[in-house]
């Protein structure tokens, strides 16, 4: 078999457009491809993917594989897996980047196993080892308490990259690239799971992942009612409300509010943490926040080691006064 070559990004579509995670991944992939002196390609899977192809090129791809089949219209993991498996076998990429999204977190490990290769999971950084010309991946382990640098011993070298750690490149609509159509053979019987129903539980407000301001509450709030204060503050600041796992596990707010290692990754400009101790597993989801503000009655709480601003005290006194003052400042 010819030597594996090229950096392949698995693209994702959002409403027919190239998803923002894929724009980020193209930025990561562009740098790797340049450092390796190889091509950057992207795989777009769907019933038809025309709209997103040119977008992908403008964000840095040299080539687009339009991997199409009518059965790929709705996302189903087994079918996507089968399609990607044939693409990888056919095109033999050196590096494969997958975003660790709702779908990617399942797809990446299963694809790696199917291809019989290793995977660097949940990477914060991917680079090329200049000596060996191999992929190096930095990833948090032990709940974010340590960073492991990992390399994959076989090809494709697969990395699942955490969303929001790379900034997309400035799109260049005049960039030229090639679109290669790659129709795949699929059978509906390959789909081994069926989605019976999909239920949304979050409010219709600003999405936690996209909010400029996030106000999160933790166990120290003592119950569900205090979250109304946080909702009010978030509203005044034009932001969204999040929570620690302790607050979610207590049933005070829906699961979708959880920030952290096993919750959402957020990168707001201001992250206001109320009565949250700052465990590493929580910080794993918010280390990309520009300014962290901590309100906690325990001056020894770990969060004061991570926050830019801190107020030591009882949230019950601090939050209403803070909210009133912010409202005044916003209106003036």
């Amino acid at each position: 078999m010819a030597e594996a070559t090229g950096v392949l990004v698995l693209g994702e579509l959002a409403g027919g457009e190239l998803a923002s995670v894929s724009q980020e991944l193209l930025a990561a992939g562009r740098k790797l491809a340049d450092d390796l002196g190889e091509e950057l390609t992207i795989a777009l899977l769907g019933a038809s993917v025309e709209g997103a192809s040119q977008q992908a090129i403008s964000y840095g791809a040299d080539r687009v594989y339009a991997v199409t089949h009518p059965l790929l219209e709705e996302y189903q993991v087994d079918l996507n897996l089968a399609a990607l498996e044939s693409l990888c076998q056919e095109t033999n990429p050196n590096v494969l980047l997958i975003a660790r999204t709702e779908s990617g977190r399942e797809l990446a490990p299963r694809l790696a196993f199917r291809l019989g290769v290793g995977l660097a999971q949940d990477c914060l950084e991917v680079s090329v080892d200049p000596a060996a010309k191999r992929l190096l991946a930095n990833r948090p382990v032990y709940g974010g308490n340590a960073i492991a640098v990992i390399s994959c011993d076989l090809t494709p070298q697969i990395a699942a990259v955490r969303p929001k750690v790379y900034e997309p490149l400035e799109p260049d609509p005049s960039r030229q690239g090639q679109v290669v159509s790659f129709p795949v053979e699929l059978e509906s019987s390959q789909a081994r799971t069926r989605i019976v129903e999909r239920v949304e539980e979050t409010s219709t407000g600003i999405k936690l992942e996209d909010a400029r301001v996030v106000v999160s509450g933790g166990r120290g709030l003592g119950g569900p009612e205090p979250f109304a204060h946080l909702e009010e503050l978030a509203k005044v600041m034009g932001g969204a409300v999040g929570a620690s796992r302790a607050a979610v596990d207590s049933g005070w707010v829906p699961v979708a509010y959880q920030v952290g290692l096993t919750g959402k990754t957020i990168t707001p400009e201001i992250y206001i943490m109320v009565a949250i101790s700052g465990a590493s597993q929580h910080m794993a989801g918010c280390s990309g926040a520009k300014v962290i503000v901590a309100i906690n009655k325990d001056s020894e709480a770990n969060i004061f080691r991570e926050a830019r601003y801190g107020v030591v005290g009882d949230w019950e006194q601090i939050i209403p006064a803070f909210t009133a003052a912010v409202r005044e400042l916003v209106q003036s």
Binding site: A148, S151, E201, V255, A256, V293, G313
Partner: protein, 266 residues
């Protein structure tokens, strides 16, 4: 016929240990096992045991817990038995230590699952709190050719089918698959039950089955790692926190607002 359930559970360093006790030996690329802090059953694997017990509450079922590692704290690993699981299989061999390589671990576990034969459902935790790989169960499903449903918060079995509620970023979805299947569960499943006194007594009497690599009919040549750990370090974090004070707590809240305004953040 009784439902045959396998639960995969890993022994890990207690993730809730004080942060100060967490240490990395950078020369050996290893996390130092903290003295005096006993290991625990990985939290999500206790959720997996609970998911199995909930099924067993409702229908005839047997629960076999399988764990792979180099060394076990028996009293810790017997917890699933005291919660109500039937059987404990420990895959113990000095060669089973490379758990950063999920391929490696999944191969060992797959061999044990094959040897035990006839599982209808395998339940795993979503991830192990040491290496946070979230890969072994998905890999196992691939190696064993099982249908796979990830991140479940509720698992039901009837008529040869598993129906699960899975967490999504905005809510949940209901997914079904034919048995045999593998599911991973998360903390959203709810608090695992506490062992009862009767359960603890029963567990003391039970002996785990211990299998080494050769009992599994494997040799080290089959266990070629797929990833290499190049280095391991504790990241630099922390910054100087500016404490905002006031005449009282409410005033500190107002001062904080002014500070954020000064920084043009609001």
């Amino acid at each position: 016929m009784a439902l045959k359930i396998g639960v995969l559970a890993k022994q890990v360093i207690d993730p809730e240990m004080p942060m100060a006790a967490f240490r990395v030996d950078s020369d050996a690329n290893k996390v130092v096992t903290p003295p005096n802090i006993p290991p625990v059953v990985n939290g999500f694997d206790e959720n997996a045991v609970e998911a199995a017990l909930l099924l067993k509450d409702a229908q005839e079922a047997t629960i076999t817990v399988i764990s792979s590692g180099t060394e076990f704290a028996l009293d810790v690993m017997k917890k699933p038995l005291s919660m109500g699981a039937d059987e404990l299989i420990l895959l113990q061999d000095d060669a089973f230590g490379n758990t950063i390589d999920s391929f490696f671990t999944a191969r060992v576990l797959a061999e044990a699952v094959r040897k035990l034969e006839g599982f209808d459902l395998i339940i795993c935790g979503r991830q192990a709190s040491d290496w946070d790989n979230a890969q072994v169960p998905l890999g196992l499903a691939e190696l064993l050719g099982l249908s796979c449903i990830a991140l479940c918060r509720k698992v039901d079995v009837s008529d040869g089918k598993v129906t699960a509620e899975c967490t999504t970023p905005d809510g949940y979805e209901v997914v079904e698959a034919d048995l045999p299947a593998l599911v991973t569960v998360s903390n959203e499943l709810g608090q695992p039950r506490y062992p009862t006194l009767r359960g603890i007594m029963a567990a003391t009497r039970k002996k785990p089955t211990i299998w080494t690599m050769s009992d599994l009919g494997m040799d080290s040549a089959e266990l070629e790692p797929r990833v290499t750990l190049r280095s391991l370090f504790v990241p630099e974090t922390g910054q100087d926190c500016e404490y905002i004070e006031g005449e009282n707590a409410a005033d500190a809240g107002r001062q904080l607002a002014l500070k954020l305004r000064e920084d043009k953040l609001i």
